[in-house]
């Protein structure tokens, strides 16, 4: 058995269970015998540390913790609320500002304002030439076939003059 093989048996040595051939090697190898002493030293040290008492929680530790949790959750809720309201306020303000900007900028050049007067007159003239007055044409066409008791506009005017 080589010294490296003894090192690989550290778990067994740690548990105090040295196999036969390991014990034989230890009996004749001072370095490995020292290694075994180190194992026992460290193991004993751990046992002593186990007995080292942990500090006790200070008085009111749990109550202070709960208070801190409650304060931080209220703070979180406020932050969430302000973020929610604040974000919408900012968006609404931006929308109003954009609307005002458009309302001020657009009139001279934009398509949102009413069309200019010459444009309107031209549009009316075009409409008149394409579609003659439908009321006048109807009465001219149908006066011959109209019932006698229905006064015609032209007859009424003549009667009025007389």
């Amino acid at each position: 058995m080589r010294c490296e093989d003894v090192r690989e048996q550290v778990d067994e040595l740690w548990a105090g269970e040295a196999p036969g051939e390991v014990r034989l090697h230890l009996a004749s190898c001072p370095a490995c015998a020292e290694y075994l002493r180190d194992v026992r030293l460290v193991r004993t040290g751990f046992r002593l540390l186990t007995g080292d008492p942990a500090p006790e929680p200070s008085l009111g530790f749990a109550a202070r913790l709960v208070r801190r949790l409650s304060e931080s959750s209220e703070q979180d809720a406020r932050e969430v609320f302000f973020e929610y309201v604040g974000r919408r306020f900012v968006y609404a303000t931006l929308a109003v500002v954009m609307f005002l900007v458009l309302a001020l900028v657009v009139p001279s050049t934009g398509p949102l304002r009413a069309a200019a007067t010459p444009d309107l007159l031209m549009a009316e003239q075009e409409a008149a030439t394409v579609r003659p007055d439908p009321v006048g044409s109807y009465w001219q066409e149908s006066s011959a076939s109209a019932p006698a008791d229905i006064p015609q506009p032209a007859d009424q005017e003549q009667k009025g003059r007389k």
């Binding site: 090192r7 550290v10 778990d11 740690w14 290694y35 002493r37 180190d38 194992v39 026992r40 030293l41 460290v42 193991r43 004993t44 040290g45 751990f46 046992r47 002593l48 540390l49 186990t50 080292d52 942990a54 500090p55 006790e56 929680p57 200070s58 530790f61 749990a62 109550a63 913790l65 709960v66 801190r68 949790l69 409650s70 931080s72 959750s73």
Partner: protein, 199 residues
């Protein structure tokens, strides 16, 4: 003899209430487990002045992540996982302090210490030797890599079995055994280097 069931049922009620944000219910859980967590943190970090602050951080972290607790493991196992992970992050930032008492002993004193420590009963050590040995192993732990320190503490100081450690760290038992084996080898090598460096 009182049945343990009402305790478990009560704990479940506290956990469910705390998951809905009930700080008072969580306070009952803190009172039940604070000493366990203080002990675990103390063994892991070995800085008495930091134990309470770390324990508070652990409980706050636990409360904030409580909704993710799915009742598959016991609550104390889940809480211990949070504690171990938090202490692991803390350990990675720590620097080890030098060994003092052991270094101050003469070579003969150290030999006597080693001889007495071989005795199966710790009654073979006097108070000075106990202090020196605690200091030595404590500092060896402080010098160890965080992973080694974690597994040695859980096994040797907290007394967890390999299976319990695998559950706590979410590792296979074979992985835990390998890590424990390597951690023991490394701490012994460090002791030899410490001794060789002093000579």
């Amino acid at each position: 003899m009182a049945s343990p069931e009402p305790d478990v049922a009560q704990e479940l009620e506290w956990i469910k209430a705390a998951q809905q944000g009930d700080g008072g219910a969580f306070g009952f859980l803190v009172e039940r487990y604070q000493r366990r967590i203080f002990s675990l943190v103390h063994h892991l970090v070995r800085q008495r002045e930091d134990v309470e602050d770390l324990a508070q951080e652990i409980f706050i972290k636990t409360f904030r992540s409580l909704r993710s607790y799915n009742f598959q493991a016991s609550f104390i196992t889940w809480l211990s996982r949070v504690a171990v992970n938090h202490c692991y992050d803390y350990l990675r930032r720590l620097r080890a302090s030098p060994v003092t008492y052991y270094s101050q002993m003469g070579e003969e004193g150290q030999r006597n210490l080693e001889a007495h420590a071989e005795s199966p009963e710790e009654g073979g050590l006097d108070q000075a030797e106990r202090t020196a040995l605690q200091d030595l192993v404590g500092k060896l732990l402080d010098r160890a890599p965080a992973n080694d320190r974690l597994i040695l503490t859980l096994k040797e100081l907290e007394g967890y079995s390999v299976e319990e450690i695998s559950d706590l760290l979410n590792l296979k038992t074979s992985t835990v055994k390998v890590r424990l084996h390597r951690a023991r080898k490394r701490i012994l090598e460090d002791l030899q280097e410490l001794r060789a460096g002093r000579r």
